[in-house]
């Protein structure tokens, strides 16, 4: 397998270059571009990022592995991230998580066999005032209860 940035992303990269005093700063922006393009970060992309940023591929790997939102293998079509931190816990996230597990038949860290859902338990999403909260991909769902959760999942295309 090989990796190449799409022409559209190459255009974005040119624009990004002028925004930073050093190409080294492009590490995270480029990792995000790769993940948006491929759905995850294939190992082959480290070389491409290294070339642009002037870091070594190993440096890129070391950085990338630090950040919890970056993935090195594909996730389900719907990546459910349910908050496990304190405010959501006080507002009943454990029950929601149990419901989700039973409904989808997978635990946190797993993907359904049809590749539709991945569940992940994450730390505070910044929705403590509208707890309990989760995200599906980048979209927030807040003030959840099991009924609401069912409706949300049923209405996904």
């Amino acid at each position: 397998m090989s990796f190449a940035f799409s022409p559209e992303n190459l255009g974005k990269i040119e624009k990004l270059r002028s925004r930073y005093p050093s190409p080294k700063a492009l590490t995270l922006p480029l990792l995000w571009l790769v993940q948006e393009q491929e759905g995850y970060i294939p190992g082959e992309a480290f070389d491409a990022i290294a070339e642009i940023t002037t870091w070594s591929p190993m440096d890129i790997y070391k950085s990338a592995s630090f950040y919890t939102m970056l993935r090195f293998e594909p996730a389900g079509k719907y990546h459910i991230k349910i908050c496990r931190s304190l405010s959501c816990t006080l507002c009943g996230q454990a029950m929601l998580y149990r419901h989700l597990r039973e409904k989808l038949g997978i635990k946190a860290g797993e993907t359904t066999a049809d590749g539709r859902f991945t569940i992940e338990r994450v730390e505070c999403l910044g929705s403590c005032g509208t707890a309990p909260a989760m995200q599906i991909n980048d979209i927030y769902y807040e003030e959840l209860n099991t009924l609401k959760l069912d409706t949300i999942l049923e209405n996904l295309p």
């Binding site: 590490t27 995000w32 304190l86 405010s87 005032g129």
Partner: protein, 417 residues
């Protein structure tokens, strides 16, 4: 009585408050041409005299940090706005960037002008992607209207703003870790310098401030330091977007001046403890601040001095309310699970301490721990309060000690002989 004061949230209630067309009718950017002609030192002085304190959790006087930025130097300087907001219990910066992003942008223009920066970054946590899009649109609007870019509002001052998306790591909110991350590396906090100096971004001086700190700047610059000091207390001037979550009737963020009574705030804005249950405790400013018992909360006022006197700290002002329903074993385990996950792992006491204490808390929760385990936990807390690169580990230590100390009976009851 709590006065109604809105410095940062004054436009939050307007329909389409995130759009330029809306806020232009409410005075946004109006006085830029005047202020961008003033000597920059005057703006630094106004902020210094206002007593504005950093609203990202530390409460450092903003003016003192601004004064560390070099004047008329040949190398560029940078402003970096911290929108990493990941401390459990904290959700205020999100409100600013989605409900009044132009207030932040105006604050960034004034701040950058004052410190001599021509490029400013907003480091935003990766999870906030959908909010980032609102902020991006506001930045684009500001460029189109000539409030960003070259020769802003005919003043001769240039400023670019770049939004930088984080990758999901709590520690990147720590300012030096944030800068490491912004340089393309892992978000590892740096060793602190001995003396006072600015932060550094690729060897150039950088000022790191929280979103809400910068969003408070337009009010101060337009109305003067004295006006800002009408609100709050002598040591904690102005206001904060305090917030409420947990066992509370009406969770949310409500701006108030410093110095108001904690319980009055909880009653007036939050409608009291959920389900009229008894109050058990309040974590005053995000989970990293030591817990207060109900009795301490009754004595607390919302300012830096009061909470320090009570052995805690104001933190981010994100209060987590615990009712009699709260199980302190669960609370402790939940908090330690967070720290174990988020320690960056550079310092042994922190890496090992967070992991071990989380394991002990699990055993305590399940009723499998003995007095020896509890003692071990307290010992671990002690070591975490030693020499570490950043204040993450000492904060964990304070949190453990406060919870065990104040609810000791609850913990000893569940110990095995």
């Amino acid at each position: 009585m709590i006065r109604d004061v809105r410095i940062v949230s004054s436009r939050f209630g307007l329909a389409n408050s995130h759009r330029l067309s809306t806020v232009l009718m409410r005075g946004a950017y109006d006085s830029l041409p005047i202020h961008l002609k003033r000597p920059p030192e005057q703006i630094v002085r106004a902020v210094d005299e206002s007593g504005l304190r950093g609203k990202g959790g530390g409460g450092a006087p903003a003016g003192e940090k601004w004064k560390l930025m070099p004047r008329n130097s040949d190398t560029p300087s940078y402003l970096v706005v911290n929108c990493d907001e990941s401390e459990p219990g904290t959700f205020k910066d999100r409100e600013i960037i989605t409900r009044d992003p132009h207030l932040l942008i105006e604050g960034m223009i004034l701040t950058s002008y004052a410190i001599g920066a021509n490029h400013a970054y907003i480091y935003i946590r990766g999870e906030y992607k959908s909010f980032e899009l609102i902020l991006r649109r506001a930045v684009d609007e500001a460029y189109e209207a000539g409030f960003l870019g070259r020769d802003i509002a005919g003043s001769g001052f240039d400023l670019d703003i770049t939004i930088h998306r984080g990758g999901g790591a709590y520690i990147c909110g720590e300012k030096s870790a944030l800068l490491e991350s912004l340089e393309g590396k892992r978000g590892h906090p740096r060793l602190k310098p001995k003396g006072k100096e600015p932060e550094w971004y690729f060897g150039a001086p950088a000022l790191v401030n929280n979103v809400e700190t910068i969003a408070s700047v337009p009010y101060i610059v337009m109305n003067g330091a004295r006006c800002y000091r009408q609100f709050g207390t002598a040591q904690s001037p102005g206001t904060l977007l305090f917030s409420l979550s947990g066992h509370i009737e009406r969770p949310g963020i409500y701006e108030a001046e410093f110095g108001v009574s904690m319980m009055e705030y909880i009653e007036r804005f939050g409608g009291g403890v959920k389900g009229k249950k008894k109050l058990k405790g309040v974590i005053p400013g995000g989970i990293s601040t030591p817990i207060l018992t109900a009795e301490e909360a009754a004595r607390a006022t919302l300012d830096y001095e009061s909470l320090r006197t009570l052995g805690s700290s104001l933190g981010t002002g994100g209060m987590i309310v615990l009712s009699s329903e709260a199980d302190m074993h669960g609370v402790l385990k939940n908090i330690l699970g967070f720290y174990r996950h988020e320690s960056c792992g550079q310092c042994t006491p922190c890496r090992e301490g967070t992991s071990w204490s989380d394991q002990i808390a699990s055993r305590m929760l399940r009723g499998e721990a003995t007095m020896k385990d509890l003692d071990k936990l307290l010992e671990l807390a002690d070591t975490m309060n030693g020499k570490t690169i950043c204040v993450f580990a000492p904060a964990v230590s304070g949190v453990i000690l406060s919870i065990i100390d104040k609810f000791r009976d609850e913990f000893t009851e569940r110990l095995r002989p």
